[in-house]
Amino acid sequence: MEFQIDQVIGNLNELFGGKDHHRQRKGLDFITIPKEQAVAAITYLSNPEGFKHLVLLTAVDWLEQGQFQLTYLLNNPDNKQDLGIRVLIPRDQAVMDSIHDLWGQAATYQRELREMFGIHFPGSPRVDQPFILEGWDGPPPYRRDFDTKKYAEETYFPRPGRSSNDPTEYMKHQLYPDE
């Protein structure tokens, strides 16, 4: 049977409660799946639908909505089709099911997300070991409510006398000094 992305999207909508389908361009689609159905949907896509390559797994912090958005980007090499699975999980209880048994390399992504965003993936191998940061004891640094400037000023002995300009104002003054 011919591979049809619309057929796949239809199946996702029907079987796994997918919504908000969005076609970025030909060969790149996004769809939002509820958290409970997400791993089942990804398993279904990897086999039988042929999305056998995990391109990336990343997170976006929607601070105002109190949600993290996980994006699983899958690739179907035979049909040259990318599909992004978006999963929204609550920010205050950031736990997601692991997919390391589908793709071993997902464990590394999940370890990074655990460290940088504080999203927990129970059962993922070595998920609690430090990934990039060594001995980090602050809040997860990629969360948007982490004030990196304040942390740096308190920790890293800033050199006094450093000044910075707002680029817009500065260039306006440089280019059009009379206005």
């Binding site: 940061l133 640094p141 990196t148 740096a152 890293y156 800033p158």
Partner: protein
């Protein structure tokens, strides 16, 4: 060496005898560094001339500035004609070029490497990241001022400095060494507690001896 290798443990000899080992105390000498007094007059001048004319750089690229050290070696800029050459290990080198930003993780390796270098040793800090943090001044994971962790002999400003600027910086370092001012290792030994306190403030999982011979 991983963290488990540094823990106290019992190992067994081929005969089955238990041996208690404590790697941090058994494998490392816990002596502090000592400052050395310069010798008399002309002997020290001669030694300084010799040191200045054969600067051996540790090939350790910490940040993006390391990219500027490659053209420096190759025929266009050819630092070798000034007696500067690159060495693969800390124990063979006398100049540590900190090339650009330093993350906390890299700083730990830098400290280990610096302390393994033999006296006299000099630090050249390259790029604005080592001076005040540069474009990473508000980053959660890069240091702002290198001179709080290691004694710096020469700063080279820029982001990035051109190879010509590096050559000028090495010339400046030579002048300082010949004038007897290249005493970073002494400064490190004299203010050892202050440097260690600063290093330990930001390196949270300190799993190495206080001084790495």
């Amino acid at each position: 060496m991983s963290k488990e290798d540094l823990e106290k443990r019992t190992v067994y000899s081929p005969e089955g005898e238990p041996i208690e080992i404590d790697p941090l105390n058994d494998y490392f000498l816990d002596l502090r560094p000592e400052s050395y007094a310069p010798r008399n007059g002309v002997i020290e001048q001669f030694a300084n001339w010799a040191r200045a004319e054969s600067l051996w750089v540790l090939g350790f690229g910490t940040g993006c500035g390391a990219i500027e050290m490659r053209p420096l070696m190759t025929p266009r800029f050819d630092a070798y004609r000034f007696g500067i050459q690159w060495r693969p290990t800390p124990r063979q080198s006398s100049v540590f070029v900190i090339s650009g930003y330093l993350s906390v993780k890299t700083l730990k390796r830098v400290i280990r490497s610096y302390e393994q270098m033999q006296n006299p040793k000099f630090v050249v800090a390259l790029g604005s990241c080592t001076i005040n943090g540069g474009m990473y001044w508000d980053s959660y994971n890069t240091i702002n001022r290198l001179d709080h962790y290691l004694p710096v002999d020469v700063y080279i400003t820029g982001c990035m400095p051109r190879p010509e600027a590096l050559l000028a910086g090495f010339e400046e370092l030579k002048k300082r060494i010949k004038a007897g001012k290249g005493d970073g290792a002494n400064k490190y030994a004299d203010n050892f507690d202050w440097y260690k306190a600063n290093q330990k403030k930001i390196i949270k999982d300190w799993d190495m001896p206080d001084y790495n011979w």
